[in-house]
């Protein structure tokens, strides 16, 4: 085993997951200006939805993931309708607080239904071990990387090349303005939340097999996702992807060459340093 190569691949794996979560967050946070602290809960629900579809309904892995996308996307849409849409004209502080309320609710709900214990999820890809270039991995890990990249490319194309995608961006910049162009702003907001929830579900669905499913699983991921969104520039899709990988690599290499205990701090220190030097974030646009 070549430690450096192995750690680089580990960074790639974890970076893929980070990027996916951060993407969902950046869509809502950057584009609709809602800092959705409940995004971590969506990720967590995604993990449970996948797992439960497999264990309770006996669905195959990919179908289970698809169900999870629908479930979590649906929850996200409900959030938008019932909560964030109502808070459209409130000061930003209120979105954050409402999101925290949602987070507490979802976490508790899952705990009440399925308990607080750790669960593991195994997939057809969990046990296949592949070795190449001094790296040893399961096919699940390759799946993580490949799936993440495919999803990201698809999303980017959707936003850039389709008018519906552009309407997401337009409406984020001026809701009424978008209305007046014939864009059904409500539908777009719902779509955005759906995509965001779907991304969280995919991230959880591909990551859970190499980790665990439990009610708190979203906490740290979400904190890091916020860091990524800020590092990469709010609302910037490429920024979120890049930021996710930067973080993934710095963690796996940091744990190896600096300190394992403090590897979780890396993300936060990175953010603090970046905002210290550039208070508007790395890719900030000119102020007006």
């Amino acid at each position: 085993m070549d430690v450096l190569a192995q750690q680089l691949f580990n960074g790639l794996t974890i970076g893929s997951v980070y990027s996916l979560v951060a993407l969902g967050l950046t869509l809502v946070y950057g584009i609709l200006h809602i800092p959705n602290f409940a995004h971590g809960a969506l990720y967590m629900v995604g993990g449970y939805a996948t797992l439960m579809s497999m264990t309770l309904l006996g669905m195959p892995y990919f179908i289970a993931m698809f169900i999870a996308i629908l479930v979590v996307g649906g929850i996200a849409v409900l959030m938008e309708r019932l909560v964030f849409n109502q808070l459209r004209d409130s000061p930003p502080i209120h979105d954050k607080i409402a999101a925290i309320g949602l987070l507490l609710f979802l976490e508790t709900l899952i705990r009440v239904i399925w308990g607080a214990d750790y669960r593991s999820m195994s997939t057809p890809f969990s046990d296949n071990i592949v070795s190449f270039l001094g790296v040893t991995v399961t096919t699940q890990r390759i799946l993580i990387v490949v799936a993440a990249i495919l999803v990201m490319i698809a999303l980017q194309l959707f936003l850039k090349k389709t008018m519906i995608g552009a309407s997401i961006i337009a409406m984020s910049q001026d809701r009424e303005g978008a209305f007046l162009q014939g864009i059904n702003a409500n539908r777009v907001a719902m779509l955005t939340f759906f995509i965001s929830g779907g991304l969280a579900a995919v991230a959880a669905g591909i990551n859970a097999p190499i980790n665990l499913v439990y009610p708190d699983m979203g906490h740290l991921v979400i904190l890091k996702a916020f860091v990524i969104v800020i590092i990469g520039g709010m609302g910037s899709v490429p920024g979120a992807i890049l930021g996710g990988y930067i973080l993934g690599f710095s963690e796996s290499l940091g744990a190896t060459f600096i300190s394992a205990e403090y590897s979780d701090i890396i993300a936060f220190v990175l953010l603090v340093i970046i905002l210290t030097v550039k208070p508007q974030g790395l890719f900030a646009k000119g102020a007006h």
């Binding site: 085993m1 430690v3 192995q6 750690q7 580990n10 960074g11 794996t13 974890i14 997951v17 980070y18 264990t55 508790t108 705990r111 009440v112 239904i113 399925w114 308990g115 607080a116 214990d117 750790y118 669960r119 593991s120 195994s122 071990i129 040893t136 991995v137 399961t138 890990r141 990551n207 190499i210 980790n211 665990l212 439990y214 009610p215 708190d216 906490h219 740290l220 991921v221 890091k224 963690e251 796996s252 744990a255 190896t256 394992a260 205990e261 590897s263 979780d264």
Partner: protein, 398 residues
């Protein structure tokens, strides 16, 4: 030698292990302490995590307590100084937060006038020890932290055994079987830290080398591969792991994926059979592991009935936290009998050891040899090893 060997565990801050089919932590435990007619009632308090991340663990402890109380009450209670008494459990939720425990204990003392309170975590114990002597309430603390009995608090009873007993035999076995290079990858819980601090020096004293030392945070590390890769980088013979069974299983199987062929020294919180379960039957993963014998693998006269009753009631195997709490209730009742007193915490405390030895044979879940001066309970232990895919129990003095 001791015939009862089982898990001791302290799940500070992390949910305790349990199979996927275990009862959910959120389900409220029905404490059906229907009091026997014509008896006096003794309120017994409990403050533990019944919601939040620790709810699963807290409810398991509660299961043990309420099972014992129900049995006692159904039998018509117990007699102290000519009067018949039965137990009533008043349980409060503290979400693992020490200040909440403090509030709960004060409430239990004020509103229910309890002589005895179970607190299944050290933070809560510490917060309560500040005033429990003054308020004359006896703490039954399920925490392996030595400090809680070393502080000189006269009204504390430490229920779980200390883990130091395991360290030497585990190390000896693994050194002999796999070699002397040890990599340590414990969970960064209080219990994991304690273990690592005791194991490291002991291993080196026995002539081994600790070649890697770090810890995993199950609740926060997104991926264990990075840490496992580093732990394996220097080619250890033995890997020290542990914590709740599921994440431990995850770490162990990932170590195998990454080509580790040595043995696992498993901290006593995780159970080998559960790990095997979690992995869906993976004999090559757990081969060469040494750990604590799970309660269900160590059935004897003292716990047979309990284990089967528990399985029937909760559709799950009892963990040590349930077993110890169950046992404790019986010890408590006997201690009250011996003291001839149901209210005086000091008197009860003084008669705990006596009570322990009065408990019926078929309620002695573990082989406990006594309760010390300082309130610590001493359990005789055994270990479980995996040889050729089979879990085997080994006495320490083999």
């Amino acid at each position: 030698g001791g015939e009862d060997a089982d898990i001791t565990e302290e799940a500070e801050g992390t949910p305790a292990p349990g199979g996927p089919d275990d009862e959910g932590g959120g389900e409220e435990v029905e404490v059906d302490t229907e009091v026997a007619e014509g008896t006096e009632v003794i309120d017994i308090g409990f403050s533990g995590p019944l919601s939040g991340a620790g709810a699963y663990y807290g409810n398991n402890t509660l299961n043990g307590i309420s099972m014992a109380m129900e049995e006692i009450n159904e039998d018509g209670g117990f007699e102290v100084d000519g009067e018949t008494y039965s137990f009533n459990l008043v349980s409060l939720d503290d979400q693992y937060l020490p200040d909440e425990t403090g509030a709960n204990v004060r409430r239990l003392v004020q509103e229910d006038d309890t002589p005895f309170i179970f607190v299944p975590h050290s933070g809560g114990t510490y917060a309560t020890q500040v005033f429990n002597e003054q308020d004359e309430v006896l703490l039954g603390s399920y925490s392996s932290e030595p400090e809680i009995t070393q502080q000189g608090n006269d009204l504390t009873w430490r229920i779980p055994p200390t883990y130091d007993n395991y360290i030497e035999p585990f190390s000896e076995y693994q050194m002999e079987r796999f070699g002397t290079d040890l990599a340590m990858l414990p969970p960064n819980t209080e219990f994991g830290m304690d273990w690592a601090e005791a194991l490291g020096p002991a291993w080196e004293e026995m002539g081994g080398d600790v070649i890697h030392e770090s810890s995993v945070d199950y609740a926060q590390d997104t991926d264990f591969y990075t840490l496992v890769t580093n732990a394996l980088a220097d080619d250890p013979d033995v890997l020290f792991v542990g914590g709740s069974s599921e994440p431990t299983a995850q770490v162990m199987s990932q170590a195998r994926e990454l080509g580790f062929e040595g043995g696992f020294l498993v901290m006593d919180q995780a159970k080998l059979d559960e790990i095997d379960n979690v992995l869906g039957g993976a004999p090559d993963v757990i081969e060469g592991s040494v750990g604590v014998a799970p309660l269900v693998d160590d059935i004897h006269e003292g716990n047979e009935q309990f284990v089967s009753d528990y399985q029937e009631m909760h559709d799950a195997d009892p963990g040590s936290e349930a077993g110890y709490h169950y046992y404790s209730v019986y010890i408590l009742a006997e201690a009250m009998k011996a003291a001839g007193e149901t209210e005086d915490a000091h008197a009860i405390r003084e008669h705990l050891d006596e009570g322990l030895h009065q408990v019926d044979e078929d309620k002695r879940i573990y082989d406990v040899s006594g309760i010390d001066e300082d309130g610590g309970m001493t359990t005789e232990l055994r270990m479980a090893v995996v040889e050729d895919g089979e879990v085997e129990l080994v006495d320490f003095d083999h």
